[in-house]
Amino acid sequence: MTLRIALAQTAPRLGALDDNLARHRELLEEARAGGAGLVVFPELGLTGYQLQDLAAEVAMRLDDPRLAALAGATRGISAAVSFVEESGDHRLFIAAALLEDGEIRHVHRKVFLPTYGLFDERRFFAAGDVVRAAPSRLGVGVGIGICEDFWHLQMPQLLALDGAQLLLNVSSSPGRDLAARNDVGLGTATSWRTLMRTYAQLTTSFVVFVNRVGVDESITFWGGSEVISPSGEPIFSAPFFDEGLYLVDINLEDVRRERIALPLLRDERLELQARELGRIIAERAGLATDSTAEPGAEPGLDVAAAPAPEPIRLRSRRRRAATR
């Protein structure tokens, strides 16, 4: 079964929700006209990334009529869109929703919020607590991760084990670490490509990576969206920095072929992983002693520090007198 995927490598306008909603509608129609069954938009494509205090001003509840209207435009097509979601108890999440046939089919709240280096997400957003693959009208399970979510091994693994065969990563990745000794001239891009191809191979799933372009404040987003086959081969790589809607055909049968030939998922040892994780969690919480550590090792280290040299003892007369 062939699926045509439209990668919407857009440049959202910062804080301009209405403009971005309109642009999403246009691109949805363009993708539909191009025969796409799925269109994937980048992280915070409806709001822009560097929101800071604007986050609360552009947030939408899941019952927001603007979101419903966008979902209404998805009859006969699937779309992954990303926005700021406000929960009933007024937490703000970076969310991505799978919209299908007029409905919100699934919502993923970003689990890993980078708050280091140039990132400050935890200051403005709450972290999601749930990882689930979702069924889709496309006939395969879909797993959604948002940017940093896929810098943690367990995310693509959990999604694949939960039934996803199509892993979507929607991103706002800032380009940085310009380097000449690098095949694409950009350190960030090389790291992403390495990771996404590895996940596709290890989960024997399709990985669709959609990264935005454009500029927010100091930051330039590099694009370079990709579709990667279950064998880890890139099927399509979008250009860096160019805005565009890129159509890519994939054969969903490739998942079966790869999983028969390379039954990695079949051989995963979930009970072993759960058991060892349970042990590590208990040990890290101080509820059990670290069973793999040498005696005397500090918490979090398995190896004890080398013994310090014997201190030189001062043998003063007074000391001797005191000890007698």
């Binding site: 804080g15 800071q52 604007l54 310009l178 000449a180 690098n182 001239g185 404040e217 330039t220 860096f240």
Partner: protein
């Protein structure tokens, strides 16, 4: 890959400048990012034009080339602002750049403005008799701030944003005048070390003499950056790169072969100039304070003038 491009040579077949290995960048990617950055800043602010002060040196020259590449030379106003002691060669180089780009330019001599404050030929200026003995540093700072005032005035008349031309090296060591040459609406080269500025300038085809000449603030005759600071840019750039970008400690730098005295001197320059790289602090009194807990992007819906 642009790093594989040979460096430009002088008549004797020596490279025009030294480019340390670890500092080499992919200049094609950098040009791409910077052009998009310039267009993005203008779009978000609702402007279509830029203004910059063109000294004839490599930094402002490179920015002029980058802005021209991003938005077209006709949208860039280069303002030449010599003082009476400024090097005629600098002005000639600036004129060469203007001619090569075909951008509009204006000449604003700042001599009368600066001498009007400090006085001249025994006549006291507006600054009073006491300023006649002012040090070259005071005079240099005043010149830099006078040029800033001219640029922000021309920003209104030309309808363009003032583009910064300071590089990462001089920003990190604080070799800039606060609210003078570091005043700008945005800076496209502020994250490029001097060596990388030279690499970019070579890739973009700036005039050879502009790339090859000794960098100078040209605030007094025969001033050069490297003589004033007694360092060489490639060495300074390497130390800053390993210390700042790659987070190496002083001891690690010494182990790598850098001189401890020099490393420590540079660290002091970086620390003492921290204030020049940051927005001045506001005394926190109210519930919400700009820059502290009122945090908005500079450009957001409604912030564009158009």
């Amino acid at each position: 890959m642009s790093a594989a491009r040979p460096l430009p040579m002088d008549e004797a077949g020596r490279p025009l400048f030294e480019l340390p290995d670890e500092l080499a960048i992919d200049t094609d990617v950098a040009r791409r990012v910077i052009a998009g950055f310039i267009r993005g800043q203008l779009r978000q602010a609702g402007f279509e034009r830029c203004v910059l002060g063109l000294s004839g040196g490599i930094d402002s020259g490179l920015v002029a080339y980058l802005v021209s590449e991003a938005i077209g030379a006709e949208q860039l106003l280069c303002v030449l602002m010599p003082y009476r002691t400024s090097s005629p060669a600098s002005r000639a180089d600036a004129e060469t750049i203007v001619a090569a780009l075909g951008c509009p330019s204006e000449l604003v001599e700042i001599t009368a403005m600066v001498d009007g404050y400090f006085g001249r030929d025994g006549e006291a200026g507006a600054g009073g008799a006491g300023v006649a003995e002012a040090t070259v540093v005071r005079r240099g700072n005043f010149m830099a701030r006078t040029r800033m005032a001219v640029l922000y005035d021309r920003s209104v008349s030309f309808g363009g944003l003032v583009v910064g031309t300071g590089n990462k090296t001089e920003s990190l060591i604080g070799y800039t005048t606060l609210f003078g040459d570091n005043a700008c609406a945005f800076n496209p080269i502020g994250d490029l070390y001097k060596s990388q500025v030279r690499q970019m300038a070579a890739a973009m085809g700036l005039p050879r003499q502009v790339i090859a000449k000794a960098p100078s603030a040209d605030l007094w005759p025969d001033q050069t950056d490297e003589a004033e600071g007694s360092f060489s840019y490639p060495l300074l750039d390497r130390i800053l790169y390993w210390r700042v970008d790659r987070r190496r400690s002083t001891d690690e730098l010494v182990t790598m072969g850098f001189e401890r005295d020099l490393v420590e001197r540079i660290e002091r320059l970086v620390a003492t100039s921290e204030f020049k790289r940051q927005v001045p602090p506001v005394a926190k009194l109210g519930p919400r304070t700009a820059g502290v807990d009122y945090l908005y992007p500079r450009r957001r819906p409604g912030s564009s003038r158009t």
